[in-house]
């Protein structure tokens, strides 16, 4: 219980942090010239695909949690590995997106769009990375048999964080990609 409450509080304060970043992003995005730049440089299709990987990693982690509760250790290991793989694919996807943008001379110092985009998605990516590190530690410990018998709360707590990272991406993706895209196709 204590661990879960702790993680919930941490997630709450992290949420406030992302709110500040997202609000700054939205505020700048309302300034003239921002939206067109955004629409020009971002590719919603490829991002949607690697976002799907991140969202499904939430599902796989949830499966891992349920299997742990039922004591099915082999399945637990499988789902954990799958989660790790999906998260990694997302990070690689984001990496390629960054590389493409940098090649197009969009960087954190090139324009206000670059500044806001890289900061917001960068901080999210950092959180995904932290999540992956934690999950890989947990996975390693699982393979070493640390959780075979105990009624550990570790999967529940890590899960809260991992789902949170996903939800943040849901917001980031909607604001950075989907809304401008909708705006473009409706006007």
């Amino acid at each position: 219980m204590e661990n879960k409450l702790m993680v919930k509080l941490v997630v709450g304060t992290e949420a406030m942090f992302f709110l500040a970043l997202i609000m700054a992003y939205i505020y700048f995005s309302l300034l003239p010239g921002f939206t067109s730049r955004q629409a020009d440089h971002l590719d919603i299709r490829s991002t949607a695909i690697f976002s799907a990987f991140l969202f499904s990693s939430s599902f796989t982690f949830w499966r891992a949690e349920t299997n742990f509760k039922k004591g099915k250790m082999t399945r637990l290991k499988g789902w954990l590995l799958l989660t790790l793989a999906l998260g990694l694919v997302f990070l690689v996807g984001q990496g390629t997106e960054y590389a493409r943008l940098l090649k197009e001379n969009v960087s954190i110092s090139s324009s206000l769009f670059g500044t806001s985009f890289f900061t917001l998605t960068g901080f999210h990516g950092l959180h995904v990375l932290v999540g992956l590190v934690v999950i890989s530690i947990v996975t390693t410990l699982t393979f070493m048999g640390d959780y075979d018998r105990s009624s550990s709360s570790v999967f529940g707590t890590v899960g809260i964080y991992w789902h949170f990272v996903d939800i943040v991406w849901l917001f980031v993706f909607s604001i950075v990609y989907v809304l401008p895209h909708l705006h473009k196709i409706t006007t």
């Binding site: 409450l5 709450g12 609000m23 939205i26 505020y27 003239p32």
Partner: protein
Amino acid sequence: MKSLFYQWHADPLIILMVMTLIYLHYRKSGTSTIKSRFCFWSAIGLVLITTCSPLHFLGMHVYFSAHMVNHVILLLIAGPLLVMSIGTKPSAPMFKKISLFLHKRSWPAWLTAVIIMWCWHIPFLFDRSFAGMSGFTLMPLVHAGSMLLAGILFSWPLVGPFPELHIHPLSGIIYLATACISCSLLGLLITFAPIHTYQYYLETGAAMNGMRSNPWSLTPAADQQAAGLVMWVPCCFVYMAGCLYLLRRWFASQEPNFGRDASISLSTLMTNHE
């Protein structure tokens, strides 16, 4: 140019909605007391004011800020009043079911209300919503109805008809405070958004100089700021008053002492505490 006070307007679908509410109130809700009748008729009055009265006209054609006042009234005052008007022990099983569901999980109510509120204020959806408002369309009903629904859902876990199925007052404070944050953010955004973000009132504003009246001679910029601030500051006062009310209710209650197992935690926001 007619005086503002003659700008009454009755949308048939809205009238139908109000009729339905009255029907539901008399057929389905619980024991009627003076308090519940008072709540109900105030709520109906507020719904009519926001959808048919000159205030509605002002919000539709002149002032962004008046439009926001309408939103706030529907969401934060009319909605909760309707919930409070149900009275204790309503006969219809629907009420019990809703209460039970929201007692177990109050976050869907929170989320629905917040999503509804935000969606109506996304700039291009906002501008588009006005297109469907004139003439006989579903839009006025969807607009007012969804706000009212959001208000009802949001306040249900706090002031619903079954006191034993309310969420814990301290969880309620977190429930309200987080909603307050979301509301503030929206208000903040509208207040500080560049003037061309919301096109509709700029266009009516341009037309306003010649044709329509601008009774308080607000500039479009001041009007937009006032709109955001209405969503931000008075709204937060409402939420805060709610928090203090819950706190008072908690201090007044004679709940049994409980130890650490049943302590209040954030998790009560997500799930009910045992």
